[in-house]
C-alpha cells in the first residue's frame, strides 16, 4: 500500500503527461504481482467494492480526537480524507509485535471486496494505525472512491504497455477480456507469457480519430478522394454485439475511450440485435429530430436510468462506420467499402433507433464550405442545430486506431465567441509555472449604470507564446489583490483587459454564479483595443441558451 500511496502522491503533483507515464511505468517495473495489477485496476477504475461514506470517516476520527482540534485542523486543511490522514493518532495494538507491516494494496482490495458493512470501521482503523500519512491518505481516497488524481484509464494502460515496449492499442485490444490483477497481461508484457486472448464476445476496438483541418490543408487535398458527412454533436460511441460460446447475443456500448457505458442506455440495446460493431454518434432523437448536446447531457453520467428519463430522452445511434460484421473484422477494408457494408447492415437491422449518417454531396471545397455554413439547406434539414461541423474521410482510409495523419479530418463550424473581461489569473504548471496562464473571465450583469462583472468561465489555452508573455506582464502590472497563487487583476469599466473567448457550447449551470457554463472555452484574441465597458453582457449568453439556433451569435460576433 505504501508504494502505491507514494505513486499516487507523486502523480497528484506531477503536471506533465510523459513524466506521469514514467512514474507509473517505473512503479509497474519495480512492484510485484499482484499489487501492481490492483494498482492498474485502481488507476483504470476497474476495482469494484462498496465505497465508504464520508460520514463513516468522520465517526472514526471523532472517536479518537478532540473535536475542537479536529475542527481547527479540518478548517485549515479543507479536505476530510486528508485531515484524517494527517491527524490520525496511532494506537498500539494488542498484538504480538508492536509494528505490524502495513497492509499491501492486494490485502486492502481483496479484504474490502468481501468485508461486511459492519466490519469496515474496525478494519479501517487498524489499517490507518499501520500506515503513514501518505498511506492513510491514499487508503481513504481509495475506500471513499474519490481518487481524482488526473490519471485517465488510457494513460495507465499506456504506462503498462510501455513495460513491454508495446503500444497502448495492443493493451486496449485485449483489455475487455482481462480482470484484475492482470497476471497474464504483465506476464505477456514482460515476455514471460503468451499474449492474452480476448475471449470477450463483444470487445471494444480502439477508435480512429480525426485531425482538425486548417485552411492551408485544403490546397493539398482532392475533393474526389473524400467522402463528407456531418459531424453530429453527441457522444462518439461504439456499439458492439457478439455471440458468446452458448450462442447468446451479448451487446455492449462503449465510449470512445473504451469505457463500458451499456448500463446507461438500456433503451438502445434491443435495437442492436445483429452481431457486429458500429462506430457512431449517440444522440437524443425526439419525433425524428436530433436534439442538442444540452438535451443529451441529461442522459450522461447517470447512475440510475429511470423509465421517465428513457421516455423523455430516447437514445439514438447515428452510424458512421462498421468495424465488424458478425465474425468478420472490416477494419482492414477501405472506408468506402466499409460504408457500403454499413448501409446494408443498418438496413438489415431495420430499426428506427439506428440510422446511417448521411453523406454530403460535393465536388468542390467551396460547395462543402457552403454546406458547412448552412447544413439545413444541404440535407441536414431540421437537425442542423445538432451539426457541429463536417467530417472528411479518405475513401481509401483503413480503420486505424488513434489519429493517423491525412486520413480523417474534422472541419468544425465557427465557434461561438464573446468579449469578456479578465478578472483573475493563476500561475500555470510545469513549463508555465513562472507565468500567469490560467484566466478567469467575466461578463457584465446588472443595471447599465451599475454593472458588475460576473465570472463565466476559465481558459488556459488558445494564445500564442508571445500573447502569453503579454498577458503575464499585464497581470503582474495590474494586480489588485493576491490570494495564494491567484491574482485579482484590475477589471473596471475603463481599466482592464478584454479577451475574446471562443467556446463550443453553453449550458445552464447551478454551480456557477452566472448560471451558465461554457464548453471548451479558449482565448481566441486579445482585445487591447477594447475598453472593458464594451465587453459582452450576461444577457447575450442567456439569449444564446434560449435561442433554438446558436449560430446567431456567431454571425453577430
Amino acid at each position: 500500500m505504501n508504494r502505491f500511496a507514494e505513486l499516487l502522491d507523486r502523480l497528484a503533483y506531477e503536471p506533465g503527461r510523459n513524466n506521469k507515464l514514467r512514474l507509473i511505468t517505473s512503479y509497474f517495473r519495480t512492484v510485484e504481482d499482484p499489487d501492481r495489477g490492483y494498482a492498474l485496476a485502481a488507476l483504470t477504475g476497474a476495482l469494484s467494492f462498496k465505497h465508504a461514506k464520508p460520514g463513516l470517516i468522520r465517526d472514526l476520527i471523532a472517536e479518537r480526537t478532540d473535536p475542537t482540534l479536529f475542527a481547527l485542523s479540518y478548517d485549515y486543511v479543507g479536505d476530510l480524507s486528508e485531515t484524517v490522514a494527517l491527524m490520525w493518532p496511532k494506537q498500539s495494538h494488542d498484538r504480538l509485535h508492536n509494528n505490524p507491516p502495513p497492509p499491501t494494496l492486494t490485502e486492502v482490495v481483496t479484504t474490502l471486496r468481501t468485508l461486511g458493512k459492519t466490519e469496515i470501521p474496525r478494519q479501517l482503523s487498524r489499517w490507518l494505525d499501520d500506515l503513514d500519512e501518505t498511506g492513510r491518505w491514499a487508503l481513504l481516497k481509495l475506500v471513499t472512491g474519490a481518487m481524482r488524481i488526473g490519471i485517465s484509464a488510457r494513460l495507465a494502460k499506456t504506462a503498462a504497455a510501455a513495460l513491454g515496449d508495446k503500444d497502448a492499442h495492443d493493451v486496449e485490444l485485449i483489455w475487455p477480456g482481462l480482470t484484475p490483477p492482470y497476471l497474464d497481461l504483465f506476464a505477456w508484457l514482460e515476455g514471460r507469457g503468451e499474449k492474452p486472448v480476448n475471449r470477450d464476445p463483444a470487445p471494444f476496438r480502439p477508435v480512429m480519430l480525426a485531425h482538425a483541418i486548417e485552411d492551408a490543408d485544403f490546397a493539398n487535398l482532392n475533393p474526389a478522394d473524400y467522402i463528407a458527412e456531418w459531424k453530429w454533436d453527441g457522444i462518439r460511441v461504439q456499439a458492439v454485439s457478439g455471440r458468446d460460446p452458448q450462442g447468446a447475443l451479448v451487446t455492449r456500448l462503449y465510449s470512445r475511450s473504451g469505457e463500458d457505458i451499456t448500463k446507461s442506455f438500456p433503451d438502445l440495446l434491443p435495437s442492436l440485435h445483429l452481431p457486429g460493431a458500429i462506430d457512431g454518434e449517440l444522440l437524443v432523437v425526439r419525433e425524428g429530430r436530433v436534439q442538442s448536446f444540452n438535451v443529451l447531457q441529461q442522459r450522461l453520467n447517470r447512475k440510475a436510468v429511470s423509465p421517465k428519463l428513457i421516455r423523455e430522452y430516447p437514445a439514438h445511434l447515428r452510424a458512421y462506420d462498421l468495424l465488424g460484421d458478425d465474425e468478420m473484422d472490416l477494419r482492414e477494408l477501405s472506408f468506402a467499402e466499409r460504408r457500403k457494408r454499413l448501409a446494408a447492415f443498418v438496413q438489415r437491422l431495420d430499426d428506427s433507433r439506428i440510422d446511417l449518417s448521411p453523406a454530403i454531396a460535393f465536388d468542390s471545397w467551396e460547395l462543402l464550405a457552403a454546406a458547412r455554413r448552412d447544413p439545413a439547406s444541404v440535407g441536414a434539414g431540421e437537425d442542423s442545430e445538432a451539426v457541429e461541423g463536417v467530417m472528411l474521410k479518405r475513401r481509401d482510409a483503413l480503420y486505424l486506431p488513434g489519429r493517423p495523419k491525412g486520413q480523417w479530418w474534422k472541419w468544425k463550424r465557427d465557434p461561438h465567441v464573446i468579449d469578456a473581461v479578465l478578472m483573475y489569473a493563476q500561475r500555470g504548471h510545469g513549463k508555465r509555472s513562472s507565468y500567469y496562464s490560467d484566466y478567469t473571465f467575466g461578463v457584465w450583469t446588472g443595471a447599465e449604470d451599475d454593472a458588475q462583472l460576473v465570472p463565466v468561465g476559465k481558459a488556459y489555452f488558445g494564445f500564442t507564446d508571445e500573447e502569453l508573455m503579454q498577458i503575464d506582464r499585464f497581470v503582474r502590472r495590474n494586480t489588485t489583490e493576491k490570494f495564494g497563487p491567484v491574482r485579482q487583476v484590475v477589471h473596471e469599466p475603463d481599466q482592464g483587459l478584454v479577451i475574446e473567448v471562443a467556446f463550443e457550447g453553453l449550458q445552464r449551470s447551478t454551480r456557477h454564479k452566472s448560471g451558465v457554463a461554457m464548453r471548451f472555452p479558449r482565448i481566441s484574441r486579445l482585445r487591447w483595443d477594447k475598453p472593458p465597458r464594451e465587453a459582452d453582457r450576461l444577457e447575450t449568453l442567456e439569449r444564446l441558451l434560449k435561442s433554438p439556433t446558436t449560430s446567431e451569435l456567431t454571425e453577430s460576433g
Binding site: R10, Y13, N19, D66, S73, T83, L86, E133, G430
Partner: protein
C-alpha cells in the same frame, strides 16, 4: 514578581523591564537579546546586541559591520546578569547558533524559546529542554495535522526522483539560512556525493556554515553553468526563485520545496510544487506538545502561528495558557525568503 511583569509584550517586541532589554525586537531598541539569525528576529539598528557568536556573525553578513552600536557574544550555558534578572542561553535546535533565552527573576524562570525544533539536525546543536515556570513557545505548526516525520525519508524521495528523471534538473526551494544547509547535509548523509549547486543568494551564508566546520561536500555556483550540464543535478534555491523566470535556465526542472507546510496538499499545490519535501526547522505538533510537557511549566504563552489549537490543547492538559500577541514575526517555512523581503519578515 508576576511573570507578566518580568516579560511583557510590547509593539517593539517582548520587553523585560526589570532587565532593561527586549527579546528579538522588531523595532530599534536600546538593548536587544536575539535568539537566532533569521531576519524577522534579528534586525539591524539596535543599541547593544547580545546573541551567540553565530547569530552575531549572520547579522554582520546580512547588515554589514555596523548593524548595532555594540555587540556581546554569549555561549550556550553561559549566564549573564542584566539589571535585576539573570539570563542564560540554551540551544534551540532551530538553525546554527539559535538559542532559547531563560530569564530568571526573583526565583521565577521564564524561557523564551524563540523558534525551535526537537528533531535531529546535523547543522546545529541539539535542542535542550529547560525546566521553567513559564514556557514561551512558538506555534508555527500548532495543529495536529503537522507531523514532520523523518527528514531522511524525504531526502530519499528527492534522490529517487533524481534517479528516475536523470535528464531533468531538480530544484529544491529551501530557506537560505538553515534549511538549505540542512538539506545539503542530509543529502550528504544519504550518500549523495555529486556536487550540489547553489543559487547566488545562498552562497555567502552556506560558506559561513562551512567556515564553522559543518561538512557540506562539494558546492558549486549555478550561475554560468550551461543548461544541458544541469541535467541530473540538484540545486538549492530560495523558495521564491523556484517560480521565477530564473528557473528557465534549467532543463525541464522538477520543482521541490523543503518546508513543514508541504504536509498539506493545498499549500504545496498553491506554490506549484511538484515534489513537496516535508522538512521543517520548527517543532511539529508532537514536538510542541512533548516539549511543553517536558519543561514542567505550569503556564504556557503561545506566540506566532496557530495559537488557538495549542492554547486549547494546553488547557485540556490542565495547563494555564494564553496567546501572546506579538506581531512582526514571519515564518521562514512559508516560502518568502529574506533575499526577497530583505528584513521585513515573511508573510504570516
Amino acid at each position: 514578581m508576576r511573570p507578566q511583569d518580568i516579560l511583557t509584550p510590547q509593539p517593539a517586541g517582548l520587553a523585560c523591564k526589570p532587565g532593561g532589554f527586549h527579546i528579538d525586537p522588531v523595532r530599534p531598541v536600546e538593548r536587544a537579546v536575539i535568539t537566532h539569525g533569521h531576519s524577522d528576529h534579528a534586525r539591524a539598528g539596535h543599541g547593544a546586541v547580545l546573541a551567540t557568536q553565530e547569530t552575531l556573525d549572520m547579522m554582520r553578513l546580512r547588515y554589514g559591520e555596523n548593524f548595532a552600536r555594540s555587540t556581546q557574544a554569549i555561549r550556550y550555558g553561559e549566564e549573564v546578569r542584566l539589571g535585576d534578572v539573570t539570563i542564560k542561553f540554551h540551544p534551540a535546535g532551530h538553525v546554527l547558533g539559535s538559542a532559547q533565552v531563560a530569564v530568571t527573576c526573583e526565583g521565577t524562570r521564564i524561557v523564551a524559546s524563540g523558534d525551535y525544533k526537537d528533531a535531529p539536525d546535523p547543522t546545529c546543536t541539539p535542542f535542550e529542554v529547560v525546566p521553567c515556570d513559564v514556557f514561551i513557545t512558538e506555534a508555527t505548526f500548532g495543529l495536529p495535522v503537522f507531523r514532520h516525520g523523518d527528514a531522511a525519508v524525504q531526502i530519499e524521495k528527492l534522490l529517487a526522483s533524481a534517479k528516475l528523471f536523470p535528464e531533468r534538473a531538480h530544484l529544491v526551494g529551501a530557506y537560505s539560512l538553515g534549511k538549505a544547509q540542512r538539506v545539503i547535509a542530509l543529502l550528504r548523509a544519504a550518500g549523495y556525493d555529486a556536487p550540489i549547486y547553489l543559487h547566488g543568494a545562498m552562497e555567502k551564508i552556506t560558506h559561513y556554515y562551512q567556515s564553522r566546520g559543518i561538512e557540506l561536500g562539494e558546492l558549486k555556483a549555478v550561475k554560468g553553468v550551461k543548461k544541458a550540464d544541469l541535467a541530473g543535478t540538484i540545486t538549492l534555491a530560495p523558495p521564491s526563485a523556484t517560480s521565477d523566470v530564473w528557473t528557465r535556465r534549467f532543463p525541464d526542472p522538477v520543482t521541490a520545496f523543503a518546508s513543514g507546510w508541504m504536509r498539506v496538499r493545498a499549500r504545496a499545490r498553491q506554490g506549484g510544487v511538484e515534489l513537496p519535501l516535508v522538512i521543517s526547522d520548527h517543532a511539529d505538533w508532537d514536538g510542541l506538545t512533548a516539549t511543553i510537557k517536558a519543561t514542567n511549566a505550569g503556564e504556557i504563552w503561545v506566540t506566532h502561528g496557530q495559537e488557538d489549537a495549542l492554547v486549547h490543547w494546553c488547557k485540556t492538559q490542565g495547563l494555564s495558557a494564553r496567546p501572546l500577541d506579538l506581531v512582526g514575526y514571519g515564518d521562514e517555512d512559508s516560502g518568502e525568503d529574506e533575499v526577497q523581503v530583505s528584513g521585513e519578515g515573511g508573510e504570516i
